[in-house]
């Protein structure tokens, strides 16, 4: 803990930090999705048993029609940037070092978009074709994909 001081050395506040470690249970569907990222470097979508929507990342139930997902479908690796935002300043808990970009990527064969990261590259814009850059060391996390880079 640290204390804040103004120029006159007056104490005006206490600076502290509360750390909250947690484990997030993936469940069956997200677990299989993360396993395929880790073990095969592939991206899986879930196919809806009702309307055929392919959801990436996968969910147990279809957001479009509410039916159960019935099957897996490998998507990508190429995707299209649907939207993006440039991050210029560091913020607490930031997933990458600024500057970087948040992107919504619609992977080939998917009907939904996935939120991920991209380098702060001016080629990252709506309609741009991108591919995932996988990490060498993968742990079964969405960060096994480092980010999406422009397709060369």
């Amino acid at each position: 803990m640290h204390s804040g001081q103004s120029e006159e050395s007056e104490l005006t506040y206490l600076e502290g930090e509360i750390k909250c470690p947690y484990s997030w249970s993936t469940g069956e569907i997200a677990g299989a999705f993360l396993e395929s990222l880790r073990d095969r470097g592939t991206i899986l979508g879930a196919v809806c048993g009702g309307c055929g929507t392919v959801a990436v990342p996968p969910q147990s139930y279809c957001e479009a029609c509410g039916a159960s997902m019935k099957d897996w479908s490998e998507v990508g690796p190429t995707g299209v940037v649907m939207s993006w935002a440039r991050v210029t300043d560091h913020f607490q808990g930031a997933p990458a070092e600024a500057p970087f970009r948040f992107v919504l990527v619609r992977l080939a064969g998917a009907d939904t978009s996935m939120l991920h990261l991209a380098p702060d590259d001016e080629r990252i814009k709506i309609g741009a074709k991108v591919v995932p850059e996988f990490r060498e060391e993968r742990t079964g996390s969405i960060t096994d994909i480092k980010w999406f880079v422009p397709e060369s």
Binding site: M1, L11, Y13, C20, P21, G31, G140, T143
Partner: protein, 158 residues
């Protein structure tokens, strides 16, 4: 974070959880009373209480209103850095955010001259030597920055 949970798991182990950590940074505004209280600790190794204008209770840490009679408390009083142990507990379980070595002793101390108890740590004593009613004295940190741990702990007076 993620590595912690999945470490040791073979690559073929199923993925069932993802670990993470939220770090909540905060600023706690001291206000007028805590500002002076902590400045006196930092600069002068002095523990300051404040006296209620009506019932005369000496409050610690200082606050603008008396908790007994709700009247303004506005007269600063210097207290001894010695007192009497009122009660204590021995902590054996690690707590998130607490880096103290286990076991540690958390104590309520009635400082001489104060009418309320002051929570702090005991040191230089083993848990089985602690006795309610014993006399204790503050051990000041060499490097003080205006926070409760400017007093490292209270040690027994023998």
């Amino acid at each position: 974070m993620v590595e912690e949970v999945n470490k040791g798991a073979g690559r073929r182990e199923p993925v069932t959880q993802v670990a993470g950590e939220l770090d909540l940074l905060f600023h706690y505004a001291y206000g007028e009373q805590y500002r002076r209280f902590y400045e006196e600790m930092r600069d002068n190794k002095r523990i300051m209480g404040i006296r209620c204008s009506k019932c005369g209770a000496v409050l610690l840490p200082p606050r603008p209103y008396c908790g007994f009679c709700f009247e303004p408390a506005d007269q600063w009083v210097e207290l001894a850095d010695e007192g009497t142990l009122i009660t204590y507990t021995v902590v054996h379980q690690p707590l998130t955010g607490r880096s103290l070595r286990l076991p540690f002793i958390y104590a309520f101390i009635a400082l001489d001259g104060a009418d309320v108890q002051f929570p702090h740590l005991l040191g230089e004593i083993e848990p089985d030597e602690v006795e309610v009613g014993m006399r204790v004295k503050a051990v000041w940190a060499e490097k003080r920055e205006g926070a409760l741990l400017d007093i490292k702990y209270f040690r027994p007076l023998r």
